[in-house]
């Protein structure tokens, strides 16, 4: 568990005058659960957006190691004409969003089928004439969708509209959908936000099972400290766009800078 899947080197992200991330460095180990924590507005989501290719970092490098060798996220984005964030997903990074983004007027299964678009038959003629290849690919995609619904305990909701599901299930569906892209690294942005305690426990089991069974590396942004401390192997703490602590949950919890950031103590006092 030492080989890093993701390396973030000197990443700075600016929006005009606002510096959302400044000189961020850390590594994500293969098979680990890495948590990003920090107060509101600390720049956690912004960093996720840089990692998943929604923003291009103003400075620095983010490198994903894949089976075919290292991939620089910035280079994927700046490929002429075909470049874009979709290449980052294809390289193996999936994500969920802080405000759930499902295809609300499509069914739960359809949401998962969309995520498998690279595996289904793309040939137009073969689809129009329902060729055997097409039918087999579709049937396999439906099977895979139901496999993930089973994993997330959503099978009973398979043929409901995604927008009609209760909030907790929408969160799980979003994770299932991200998993359908067969990622190496999944980035979960506040997956426990809005869940009740029982659902949060269920979620932590789901995350740990995904990691154990599916050769997956997990990054998670979370405000629920209990969840963070219980599941993560590695915690990175942000404040005002800067990494103020980086280590195991225990190290981080005892770090005076982290305590100060969370309790709002003046930095002078910490130095004293």
């Amino acid at each position: 568990m030492t080989e890093p899947v993701l390396t973030v080197e000197n990443v700075t992200m600016r929006f005009g005058g606002i510096v959302a991330n400044q000189n961020v460095n850390f590594k994500v180990d293969k098979g680990a659960i890495t948590a990003l924590i920090g107060p509101n507005g600390a720049g956690k989501t912004t960093l996720f957006n840089c990692i998943t290719g929604f923003y291009r970092a103003s400075e620095g490098r983010i490198v994903l190691s894949t089976a075919e060798g290292p991939r620089d996220i910035g280079a994927l984005l700046s490929r002429p004409i075909v470049g874009g964030s979709h290449l980052v997903t294809r390289a193996g990074i999936a994500r969920t969003f802080q405000n759930i983004r499902l295809f609300r007027e499509m069914t739960v299964v359809e949401n998962l089928l969309v995520a498998q678009h690279l595996d289904t038959e793309a040939n137009l003629l073969s689809g129009v004439f329902k060729s055997a290849v097409f039918r087999r690919a579709e049937a396999e995609a439906v099977e895979r969708a139901f496999y993930w619904l089973g994993q997330m305990n959503l099978v009973d909701d398979a043929n409901r509209l995604a927008g009609e599901l209760p909030y907790g299930r929408q969160r799980r569906l979003e994770i299932a959908r991200a998993m359908c892209t067969s990622p190496r690294l999944i980035c979960l942005d506040e997956p426990a936000a809005g869940l009740n305690p029982a659902e949060t426990i269920e979620l932590s089991e789901v995350i740990q099972r995904l990691r154990a069974d599916h050769d997956l590396t997990v990054m998670v942004i979370e405000h629920d400290m209990h969840l963070v401390m219980s599941i993560s192997d590695h915690v990175v703490v942000f404040d005002h766009g800067v990494v103020i602590a980086d280590g195991t949950p225990k190290e981080v919890a005892n770090d005076p800078a982290v305590v100060a950031a969370y309790l709002g103590v003046e930095e002078k006092e910490v130095a004293e």
Binding site: G84, T89, R101
Partner: protein, 434 residues
């Protein structure tokens, strides 16, 4: 509502309605311009306002009856989310489709020349509606200049015949390609942008095409338009005497000449093309590409996070929509026998958009029905020609209030696994513990 409050509510409504209608009708009916002086005819707005008020009071009273209440309940039920999921037990209506197909094929035998013309026009709008439905209804890209591709198809036949000797069949085969190419050239630079820009650019493109057709006198014939040759079928011509070097249809079969044969022929080919396009569009909707279009309409950012190349996907919707519009243009040209730029104004784009919206964005059956209604209704209402636009407007308002999601409700397909997957025990236990 309890009955004691009704009189007070009625009074309030009546006064409100009366004042409002006075404000609305006062200036337009109360002041009459004669020469350079303004005559006061204030009795007229008073009468109109009273009529409106009485109508409003009667309407409110009606809604308080049990019948009215049931009506309100029903409307409230249909106005909600317009999307439902199939149960999985639906059977494909083979019989209904077969009957519709047979009736459509046999239609020329029943109709006179006038109604055949109306039917051809209606089918052309069905085709246009189906094309725009891919772009607006499925992919959610607002295209206000769809008429441009219609014009491309029509002028392809007219100018192709004039300069290159292109015939009906050649144009029919080329139109989808050329229209799709135009769609690609237009859309590629703007598809990366947000929806509103696309609407403006397409609006501009529609007007540019029309202005070019209008002003490039030497090439397009300008406002005078261009003639379109009659169609041929395996070298048989539908004119009285052969003009394009073939044999006239009636001579070949040894029957007497009738001008109707040409329209029969156009109708039948058009009908088959429409049937094929309906089939293809329906298949596309249950194919990965169709699901991607709809997913893009729902949430573009989520699509990108799933590895969807949103530019290529939008481009494919735009090109397929444009090519359908191009085919419709060829039929329009060959049916009219003549094209000129006045057929391709913004009003056409708006009408096609109205078809798609009325049909219920994304529903094939809805689009077909809306296209038929919107083209046949004006013919039926010919006696009220002066009020056509008014009736049209009222119809749109009523539709938007009553059925804001379009005529036909969208149904999503249901999927079932071939075998029940094993539930994960730990999870099931956790859920049971709740």
């Amino acid at each position: 509502m309890d009955n004691a409050k009704i009189p007070a509510k009625l009074l309030k409504e009546a006064v409100f309605t009366f004042v409002l209608s006075l404000i609305v009708f006062g200036p337009i009916s109360g002041l009459v311009l004669t020469g350079f002086t303004v005559e006061n005819k204030l009795a007229r707005p008073l009468i109109i306002a009273s009529v409106v008020t009485i109508g409003r009071v009667l309407f409110t009273l009606f809604l308080e009856t049990s019948l009215g209440r049931r009506l309100i309940a029903r409307m409230a039920g249909t106005a909600g989310s317009g999307v439902t999921v199939e149960s999985g037990n639906e059977r494909f209506p083979y019989a209904a489709v077969a009957i519709a197909f047979a009736v459509g094929l046999a239609f020329p035998l029943m109709a006179d020349e006038y109604w055949l013309g109306v039917a051809i026009l209606a089918l052309i709008y069905v085709l246009l509606g189906l094309g725009l439905n891919i772009v607006v209804g499925l992919a959610g890209l607002l295209d206000l200049g769809f008429v441009a591709f219609y014009a491309v198809g029509a002028y392809l036949l007219a100018l192709g015949a004039q300069y290159l000797g292109l015939g009906f069949w050649g144009a029919l085969a080329l139109a989808p390609l050329i229209a799709a190419f135009c769609g690609m050239v237009l859309a590629f630079p703007v598809l990366r942008m947000h929806g509103d820009y696309l609407a403006i650019v397409t609006l501009g493109f529609g007007e540019i095409i029309r202005l070019v057709l209008n002003n490039w006198l030497d090439f397009t014939g300008g406002p005078n338009g261009a003639a379109v040759p009659a169609p041929t079928f395996l070298g048989l011509e539908f004119t009285r005497t052969a003009r394009q070097g073939g044999t006239p249809f009636h001579e070949f079969f040894g029957i007497s000449y009738s001008a109707d044969y040409k329209f029969w022929f156009i109708y039948l080919v058009l009908f088959l093309v429409v049937a094929a396009v309906i089939y293809v569009v329906n298949r596309l909707k249950s194919m990965p590409i169709g699901r991607l279009w709809e997913a893009l309409r729902e949430d573009e950012i989520a699509c990108r996070s799933l590895g969807v190349n949103h530019v290529a996907t939008k481009l494919s919707a735009f090109m397929l929509g444009a090519s359908t519009g191009g085919v419709a243009g060829v039929f329009f040209a060959v049916h009219q026998g003549f094209v000129n730029p006045t057929s391709f104004t913004f009003f056409e784009s708006a009408l096609i958009l109205a078809i798609v919206v009325l049909g219920g964005l994304g529903s094939t059956l809805g689009v077909v029905m809306a296209a038929l209604v919107l083209t046949i209704l004006p013919e039926v209402l010919r006696d009220f020609a002066e009020y056509r636009v008014l009736v049209f407007g009222i119809l749109m308002v009523v539709m938007m209030v009553w059925r804001p999601r379009g005529l036909v409700r969208i149904k999503r397909p249901a999927f079932f696994p071939s075998s029940a997957p094993a539930a994960v025990p730990a999870l099931a236990a956790a859920e049971a513990a709740q």
